[in-house]
Subunit: 239 residues, 2 copies
């Protein structure tokens, strides 16, 4: 149960004895929020699978220095790569992203849809993805996952590739649970917006021969549907 506090260090050195300095967000979290002091140990991870232990040597007001006490080890990437394509919702998207990251989702792709609540222009998208990267880091610190969830810029729905599993509320569909068992080493699951997909979007799914899936339960809000779908996919692939 006594897990060391985790800090994100994208340029983690390769050798024990190397020094790392934090300023900005991670220094603030370490010194001001957690009130950590020189002599205490932490875990550093680079978000690409490498992690190691380090000792705080300087805990100043605006910066912290750590010394690596061991060479980084490498966590293997997840055996199953799950991409969740989601029409972002106004209220719950940040929270959803953190939960998906905890769960071990590899990629999140925000998509623009006809009835979507949040559709960005390019310039806004840059701000948006900056914020989402911070959320991805927060989730990795909390969950112990050494691979950061990758969050793409919001793209048009028709830019998704082939082999997409679409969770829809109408039409002929197979239970996602049955589809999960047949999936190979990766899958992309698309969750629609609160307002549902449009008829022209559904026509595109048919044309592209996307696989149509159903979820358990009643009428699920989009954020609930995304969590449920990711849980079902990852549970079936983690056996």
């Amino acid at each position: 149960m006594s897990r060391l506090n985790r800090f994100y260090c994208p340029d983690l050195p390769a050798k024990a004895g190397a020094f790392v300095e934090f300023t900005g967000d991670e220094a603030h979290h370490m010194i001001t929020v957690l009130r950590m002091r020189a002599g205490q140990s932490v875990t550093l991870f680079d978000g690409k699978g490498r992690s190691t232990e380090a000792k705080i040597v300087v805990a100043g007001r605006k910066a912290a220095q750590m010394e690596l006490t061991a060479a980084p080890s490498v966590s293997p990437p997840p055996a199953f790569k799950l991409t969740m394509a989601i029409a972002p919702m106004k209220a719950d998207f940040d929270e959803l992203l953190v939960r998906l990251a905890e769960l071990g989702v590899s990629d999140a792709v925000p998509v623009m849809t006809e009835y979507g609540e949040v559709n960005f222009k390019k310039r806004e998208a840059a701000k948006f993805s900056g914020r989402l990267e911070k959320l991805a880091v927060r989730a990795a610190k909390q969950s112990g996952n050494n691979h950061l969830i990758s969050v793409a810029d919001q793209i048009d729905l028709d830019r998704l590739g082939a082999n997409v599993i679409v969770c829809d509320t109408e039409g002929e569909r197979q239970p996602l649970h049955a589809l999960a068992q047949k999936a190979g080493k990766s899958a992309t699951v698309l969750i629609g917006p609160e307002g549902g997909f449009s008829e022209s979007e559904r026509a595109m799914f048919r044309e592209r021969r996307y696989t149509m899936a159903s979820l358990p339960g009643g009428v699920l809000r989009a954020a609930t549907a995304a969590m449920v779908a990711a849980s079902i996919m990852l549970a079936n692939k983690s056996l």
Copy 2:
């Protein structure tokens, strides 16, 4: 897609042509929030499986009257009865309860645990369960489920019965997904508090031969774990 607005009417009459009056919360939701007027149609449900259509005949400032346009029909209870026993968390419990209800969880049982964040005395529990009942109604209105999730008063952990599946983070466990497939027509799944179970609680689980289960993903917050566990159980039973 054009679903009628749903209203909770615990004492739903049995015959077409009968009248119903709302005051209080449901009247407020109908008239003030949704601005519905006489002549419009709604769905009424009693939370115990019965539902029907009704027409608004009076939409006053503080009360509304409706006339049933058909006799209530009965939705069968869910084929699989899932009870989620959860140590309530400070921040996310209300939201979690609504999501579990959307998903079709039958019962939620808040439990008191040694490291739990929210442990009520009896008097507080009454207030707590009143609030939770409102959340259950909100979820049923939104999700289209005609059976209200039943939310019990918070009980001591050792008052749970036999045959509990415990989601724990340590020790020998089977993936919940595999256990779900073996479950019969009902199951009780226990999710621990953010701080985990204590050693004496774990000893009780062993003594009672509770089944120990693991969830996919990294370190999940308790609210995430509860959603993930319910999704896995219900997906595997909805085939």
